[in-house]
């Protein structure tokens, strides 16, 4: 989530004070992503340093300091809204963890998978509860919560696929010794 660009988007509607920006950010993300005043001011200072916003002259830092988007800031916002070019997939800690777990003696990988799956589903339950309590009419909140739910669901589905692949491999391996000993016996009988 780019707080920088969210603040630029709010300023593209007109000049605003820092406190107002914080309140509007939280309102528009259905208060799912809270933002503290410190984060808002640090981000605004960086935006100002980079020439993307301009602040009121002469007033000291604080909730009443006003900010305006610059022309360069508008260009940056529009550039951000365009779809990104294809990227190299990031290294995912969970993927690495499961790959590592497969190598560690005495670790049951499917139990590691299940522990993560449960934790993810518990997170999904908490997000769903936010949506359930808000009712179907709160669209902004539903969109924010949906984004998190689809992301988490994607991870759960990857775990399901990993579980299934590992389960299949395990059952093939458990079949193999039987087959190979029979094959050995058959061979010895033919000799």
């Amino acid at each position: 989530m780019s707080v920088r660009h969210a603040l630029l988007a709010l300023l593209s509607e007109g000049p605003k004070y820092g406190l107002k920006l914080q309140q509007e950010f939280e309102a528009r993300t259905g208060e799912v992503w809270p933002l503290n005043v410190g984060q808002v001011y640090t981000t605004l200072q960086r935006l100002e340093r980079d020439g993307l916003v301009a602040s009121d002259d002469g007033t000291s830092d604080g909730p009443q300091k006003g900010f305006t988007i610059t022309e360069y800031g508008r260009e940056e916002l529009l550039a951000w809204l365009r779809p990104p070019v294809a990227e190299i997939p990031p290294r995912d800690e969970l993927v690495i963890k499961i790959l590592v777990a497969m190598q560690v003696p005495g670790i049951e990988v499917r139990d590691v998978i299940q522990a993560h799956r449960r934790r993810l589903v518990e997170s999904m339950q908490r997000y769903t509860r936010i949506k359930a309590e808000a009712g179907p009419g709160d669209m902004r909140l539903a969109l924010v919560v949906d984004a998190e739910l689809f992301r988490l669901e994607g991870v759960v589905r990857w775990l399901d696929a990993a579980d299934s692949r590992i389960g299949q491999l395990a059952s093939e391996r458990s079949d193999q010794p039987v087959e190979s000993s029979e094959t050995t016996r058959e061979r010895s009988m033919t000799r």
Binding site: M1, V32, W33, P34, R110, Q114, A115, R117, R118, L120, V121, E122, S123, M124, Q125, R126, Y127, T128, R129, I130, K131, A132, E133, P136, D146, E148, L149, F150, L152, E153, V156, R157, D160, D163, S164
Partner: protein, 241 residues
């Protein structure tokens, strides 16, 4: 919380000898009034078998099943059929509405089969449809309803009358995620009004509507979610975790 469904060390074996398949292995599951439980697991994990046994459509090989405190195996076939008609509502993946009956007739059918006078059954059916926002569709045949509406009719049929146990197998069927969510809201609401619900699904987004999620693997219950704390607990970690 009073247990509406209480399954104790329930096992189910299909076939015998080399072709023997152990579909369920000593599963314990208790579902209270007002509670919605989701059962997740891959294909072949035993989740549909669990549901048909809970719904008395299939017998367990061993173990006890109590519905509202009554042991199923101690009931006569007639009593069991009556329990099924009166107390248990099903929602199936493919809706299973009868094409030759209107929406209200479909919903009234389980009551009429149970001997409720037709006019009273129809009144209850209209009431169930109204609670699901479908009163203006009461006279429509299933083919004239959208997929989302058909599934709401199926939910109405499962909750009509004084049903106490709600069982659903992949209840969102082929519906898109928003319509699937609407179905889960209805099931959750029915449980909030006092039913006990069990939803079988492989879809984590649907399962997340449940109060508790249990996980099956190879016929065994391997894990379950810990009752979630309030939404504020999400803020401790932030959305990026």
């Amino acid at each position: 919380m009073t247990a509406m469904l209480d399954m104790r060390r329930v096992s189910k074996v299909h076939g015998s000898g080399p072709s023997e398949v152990r579909a369920l292995r000593e599963v314990d599951l208790t579902v209270g009034r007002g509670e919605l439980v989701a059962v997740m697991g891959p294909s072949g994990s035993g989740k549909s078998t669990l549901l048909t046994i809970a719904g008395t459509l299939e017998d367990a090989t061993s173990g006890e099943i109590l519905i509202d405190g009554a042991e199923i195996s101690a009931m006569s076939p007639d009593d069991r059929a009556r329990l099924r008609r009166r107390s248990i509502g099903y929602v199936f993946q493919d809706f299973n509405l009868l094409a030759g009956l209107t929406a209200v007739e479909n919903v009234a059918l389980p009551l009429e089969l149970d001997g409720v006078v037709s006019s009273r059954a129809q009144d209850s059916a209209h009431e169930a449809l109204r609670s699901l926002g479908l009163e203006d569709r009461a006279g429509h045949f299933p083919d004239d309803l959208s997929g989302g509406e058909q599934q709401r009719v199926a939910v109405a049929r499962a909750v009509v009358g004084n049903r106490r146990l709600l069982l659903a197998d992949e209840p969102s069927g082929a519906l898109d995620s928003v319509n699937g969510e609407a179905v889960m809201r209805l099931l959750r609401d029915a449980c909030r009004r006092g039913m006990a619900g069990v939803v079988v699904t492989h879809d984590s987004q649907l399962a997340a509507w449940a109060d508790r999620v249990v996980f099956l693997r190879d016929g065994r219950m391997v894990d379950q979610t810990i009752s979630p704390s309030g939404p504020e607990s999400l803020l401790e970690h932030g959305p990026g975790q």
